[in-house]
């Protein structure tokens, strides 16, 4: 189940969900990794909680209920970051609240967590979260290497690289190439 989230159902390269934070926070490898891990934290917890209470939530209000639960976890995450990891909080800044509307979190809650057991949902959260984190870290590495010539903050060249990769166009280009490579490497699984 975990490997499903990383390969077969990788949220970034296969499901193509959560593109906004993917493109926005991968300006460097460490930012991508931080965002991925933060989202994974929310994914696992929200999957667990939603799968536990899915049966008592009336059908018509399930989306609002899920959103409240997800938003609470993201706010808790934000407060914890602000208190104990202020430097990471500064770097991720506006993108932390955006985890609430990250389609991956609500998507997994709706497509999986409310139909499966707590254990399975937790594993799905871990798998999807890891898939997302790996995708973001790789994309962040690529963009950081090409765009500023550094690797996890370690400068490898003098001055700037191809700045386009730190900006939006480069994000799309890099993501597209990574998607193609991913599909080729994992074989064409429909």
């Amino acid at each position: 189940m975990i490997s499903d989230g990383i390969i077969k159902n990788n949220p970034t390269f296969v499901l193509v969900l959560g593109m906004c934070p993917t493109l926005g926070t991968t300006t460097s490898a460490i930012n991508g990794m931080g965002m991925g891990l933060a989202t994974t934290f929310v994914l696992i917890l929200s999957n667990i909680v939603i799968s536990s209470v899915a049966k008592i939530i009336p059908d018509k209000v399930r989306i609002p209920s899920y959103i409240v639960i997800i938003a609470s976890f993201v706010t808790i995450l934000q407060l914890l970051f602000q208190a104990y990891l202020p430097s990471l909080y500064e770097t991720l800044g506006l993108f932390i609240p955006l985890i609430v509307v990250n389609c991956i979190v609500l998507g997994r809650a709706e497509a999986f967590a409310n139909k499966h057991s707590v254990c399975d949902s937790a594993l799905d959260g871990i798998g999807t979260g890891l898939g997302f984190t790996i995708a973001l870290t790789v994309l962040g590495c690529v963009r950081e290497l090409l765009g500023s010539g550094s690797f996890f903050g370690l400068k490898l060249i003098e001055g700037d690289g191809m700045l386009a990769f730190i900006l939006a166009p480069g994000a799309f280009i890099a993501l597209a190439y990574l998607m193609v490579i991913f599909r080729k490497v994992t074989g064409k699984k429909a």
């Binding site: 049966k55 008592i56 009336p58 059908d59 209000v61 609002p64 209920s65 639960i69 208190a83 139909k115």
Partner: protein, 187 residues
């Protein structure tokens, strides 16, 4: 699967979820309030230490306000060695807070960005101490230098692809200098 959606059901479930979430959030907020406050104070003190010459007083305790900016006097024993001015201005992505330190000769000792809402990789580069925008300001006297980006006819190099942020940064430095002049003239 999910239960039937009659009116009572929906209201009760939604209300209880909101109440439980609010309670948990309130708890986490109260637990993290103190560490957050301390992190903020530490940030200010670090900013002050990085922008003025060596001091041995506690500038945060002697802070005073001039024109909406906070001025922190840095003293070695009882002699003032410099002033750190905290300026609140706005930049490309939102509000920005910076600390500009001046020594007694009126030169900029150093600058520091406390908080901002700019784009990582672009405007956020202003927090890097090694970029031209920052290093070109160290030790200069604002009275003898044109504090605007070269694009606007000034003497300072902007951050590549982040001109608006660079302009806001220099505007903040200029505001801090005006405050500093006022403080100096009052002494």
């Amino acid at each position: 699967m999910a239960s039937k959606s009659n009116f009572t059901n929906m209201v009760v479930v939604l209300t209880s979820i909101c109440l439980v979430c609010a309670a948990i959030l309130g708890f986490v907020y109260s637990v993290t309030a103190e560490p957050i406050r301390q992190a903020e104070v530490a940030k200010i003190n670090n900013a002050i230490a990085s922008v003025v010459p060596e001091f041995n007083n506690n500038p945060s305790e002697e802070v005073f306000e001039v024109d909406g900016a906070q001025v922190y006097p840095a003293k070695m024993d009882t002699t003032v060695v410099g002033y750190a001015v905290k300026i609140k201005t706005s930049s490309f992505g939102g509000p920005m807070q910076m600390m500009v330190g001046f020594d007694n000769a009126g030169n900029i000792y150093n600058t520091s960005v406390i908080s901002h809402a700019d784009t990582p990789g672009l405007g956020a580069k202003m927090t890097d101490n090694n970029i031209k925008l920052r290093t070109e300001l160290v030790g200069i006297n604002p009275a003898s230098v044109n504090l605007s980006v070269k694009k606007d006819g000034g003497d300072i190099d902007a951050i590549t692809a982040a001109t608006i942020t660079s302009r806001s940064f220099l505007k903040g430095v200029d505001l801090a200098y005006q405050v500093f002049l006022k403080v100096q003239s009052q002494n």
